[in-house]
């Protein structure tokens, strides 16, 4: 899902406009829905002309792709980290699952949380290319840390631990909980699953 590179040499207000456009787009995509949001509205909320926005993004899909790519990069980095930890090791180190899950969950940025909320609010995009790249990275990481021929329940629990943030965001729907409270619950949940995974019965 390689996205054609956008000009990255823009400095000052240009780079800021790009980042602001992504932030505002994500917010509108989440609250109003992706389909219902137009590039014009994003430009209006941003306080720039549509032409100025076009300089950064050819269309709405282009903004979406850039957002997905950012999350996909995070998943790719996690996978690269897991691979580096495994390099040279015969079997996965005992605490690798734990460290990998917490690495993913502890680094929940506000952007990551908003990205997940956006996908839950626009579920038809869940099967899109960008979303699949994130899922594929996480799945590969889960499979690697689970080790060879893991117990199926164990593998699924590891996957669930990685997806604690998603589960927390889904469970928080309709509540007035803050992002911080949702992240706190996601961490608690991941820790709880990891404790269970440490027990020989799980």
């Amino acid at each position: 899902m390689a996205t054609p590179a956008r000009p990255t040499g823009i400095r000052g207000t240009g780079a800021q406009t790009r980042a602001d456009a992504q932030r505002i787009a994500l917010e509108l995509f989440t609250t109003r829905g992706y389909e219902a949001t137009s590039l014009r509205e994003i430009a209006e909320r941003l306080g720039v002309s549509k032409a100025a926005l076009y300089y950064h993004f050819a269309n709405k899909e282009d903004i979406l792709r850039s957002l997905m790519a950012a999350r996909g990069t995070e998943a790719g980095e996690l996978l690269a980290w897991v691979r580096a930890e495994l390099a040279g090791a015969g079997a996965p180190p005992r605490d690798l699952a734990e460290r990998a899950v917490m690495r993913w969950v502890e680094t929940v940025s506000v952007d990551k949380l908003r990205g997940i909320r956006f996908l839950l609010a626009n579920p038809t995009l869940l099967r899109g290319e960008g979303s699949r790249a994130i899922g594929d990275g996480l799945e590969a990481a889960a499979t690697l840390v689970a080790g060879p021929s893991p117990d199926p329940t164990r593998l699924l629990l590891i996957r669930m631990a990685f997806l604690s943030i998603n589960a927390a965001v889904a469970a928080a729907r309709g509540t007035a909980l803050s992002d911080e409270q949702i992240v706190a619950a996601a961490r608690e949940s991941a820790l709880a699953l990891l404790v269970r995974l440490r027990e020989p019965t799980a």
Copy 2:
């Protein structure tokens, strides 16, 4: 979301046809998608005429409603059980959250699991009336067992425990895990969260 009652007095093959139609519809809705499935296909797979199927269901939406109503009834029964447990008690009994969550998770029928998988495969229906009735019942149960003014993280963890099955089904996407393995992981996950909830820090 009261569904107009269908004739329930049908006996023998009539009642069986109705149940078979629901089962086959759910299967097709999940594997092919709700939109892509027609009443004609359901009748064909069922081996009955379209007219025979019309006797039980006016249209595809009617089958969907009947499926949602069955799950909504289960959530309503859970809520009624929680209310009965609370009746007369000043504060929620200490182990109520635990018993309520396990009551919900332990009674995962194959139908319940398939219903969740169907909703995850057809996410646009997640905001439909029938789906909301299930969610509302579960949410009310979670709020009641959490007790008055619960810690927000605690409340969210209780909601997540109730939704362990949903999280397990979501995490199992793309794997070849059996329904039994998914249910086993959901129970493990619910138990892990409940252990954490028992600790004073959570």
